[in-house]
Symmetry: C2
Subunit: 289 residues, 2 copies
């Protein structure tokens, strides 16, 4: 549970960082303006320990360079102590997709390729071309809220699956209450998890509960617009787009994996299942029929 | 090398599957039309074993249901024997981002959540709303080509890093030639890798070579448009967007990891580096300055 806590933490920190990147590069906002936004968000649905400290960070002055903000002096290489990576590996072993947590881990690895990034860009920043579409702060708030919820849902889904597979008998209601009480991922949104777990709907995936189905539906348009504008402007959004693809993948009645099974059966005789009858099948794909 | 070969294979198969999904759901193309496209692509820059068999798959008739295509009868749950997962885990252990390979693995895990996907959608397909923007087959070809090249670059980068870390002394030129000679990821585009590795530019990342810098630049617009339209229509594109974010991340002179380091120093005193002087620093973030 502590490992997954840290995995969610990696995901949420990356999502906040991407929203900061967009405010900075796409919306040309300065640190005081960015502080104001996070400070206002802390009064609303995003209220959480990480948003609270993020707001404070943007006001901190640099003690070594007068009249500058400290955040601007910090090298953009993020370290890690390994629990995010550990979570991603265990997610893979369990077969539970946790792409927003993975994004947090991968983003730190991208950040560490600083010399390559500098060489590939000659050290030049993005031209900062404004999109033809405008993005509002409310849309950005919805995008962040949607994505953070997805990071928590992925983490809880992983705990539920691990609990089943390894017979841990984890009480997710107690986990949500403990995190709500105080930790790095303490957040008001945990109240929704406490509410859902209190109803003891063990047969439902979190995405199937009306609480989360409604919350995600309300906030999805903001995420779609944010991701579209960032990608148009070539700002990397690996966390935000992972949340969008997570939701879209699980809301696809059919995925194109039928083609993958056909390819596997073609080159390796790995067989396939059919939609219309039980059993395992193999075809001679090179024979014209 | 064989493990990474299979990781690349997972990535490429997922990219082809996503392009098929877009043709099917966004462009309302039927199997014969999709066959024609892959068949034409097989004559051009995408020529490869996997594109060749994909073209053939779309013409294969169902022997159990007359006048139907077999691909439509195959259940959309993709199996895996584990080498893709193994590649993703080793990428994490090496700290080398291979997100397009990871996408291939995660997509199979999403595909296996068939009962959840059916429940979340009541079994209903996407409404299939057409985008306001049109997408051409040439743009789709460029998107696939860009993304497949990224999958190979990620795989070779991982081999290079593993070779350095574990003193394997792998000869990437020989690897590229071997794969070119015949294997599941045999592809004409390997000629570019053979050309680059022949020049023995050991100090350069593959993205820094003029060959790949130019190829990716030429094809990026198609990928941006494809991803934008798919995401607008809520078609999942975890592989295609991973390639876009991979390129954008490594072409960002600065990433917002300075904020992540500030957060880590705030809550855990994990320290940070500065851009303007050497050393390791820690600040008291709660003290107003």
């Amino acid at each position: 549970v502590k490992m997954v806590h840290n995995g969610i933490e990696y995901g949420v920190m990356q999502l906040i960082a991407e929203v900061y990147h967009i405010m900075h590069k796409n919306l040309n906002m300065n640190n005081e303006e960015i502080h104001d936004v996070f400070s206002n968000w802390q009064k609303g649905k995003l209220s959480s320990y990480l948003v609270e400290i993020t707001a404070a960070i943007f006001l901190k002055k640099d003690e070594l360079v007068p009249n500058h903000f400290l955040v601007d002096a910090i090298l953009d290489k993020a370290s890690q102590k390994g629990t995010g990576k550990w979570t991603s590996i265990e997610g893979l072993n369990l077969g539970v997709p946790i792409p927003t947590i993975d994004a947090g881990v991968n983003a730190r690895n991208f950040s560490n390729q600083k010399s390559l990034r500098t060489a590939l860009t000659n050290g030049k920043e993005l031209s900062g071309q404004k999109s033809t579409h405008s993005l509002t702060i409310d849309e950005l708030e919805n995008a962040l809220y949607f994505s953070i919820i997805c990071a928590y849902i992925q983490g809880f889904s992983m705990i539920q699956e691990a609990s089943n597979v390894y017979n841990y008998d984890v009480d997710c209601l107690q986990v949500a209450k403990t995190w709500r009480g105080g930790c790095i991922i303490k957040a008001d949104l945990l109240d929704h998890f406490i509410s859902v777990f209190s109803k003891n709907q063990r047969d439902l995936h979190l995405l199937q509960t009306s609480d989360f189905a409604d919350l995600l539906k309300e906030n999805k348009a903001g995420l779609k617009k944010t991701v579209a504008i960032a990608q148009q402007n070539e700002v990397p959004v690996i966390g935000l787009s992972s949340a969008l693809n997570y939701h879209n993948s699980l809301h696809s009645a059919t995925l194109p994996a039928n083609l993958i099974q056909a390819q596997r059966d073609f080159f390796g005789a790995h067989t396939y299942q059919r939609t219309d009858r039980p059993g395992t099948f193999h075809s001679d794909w090179e024979q014209k029929s």
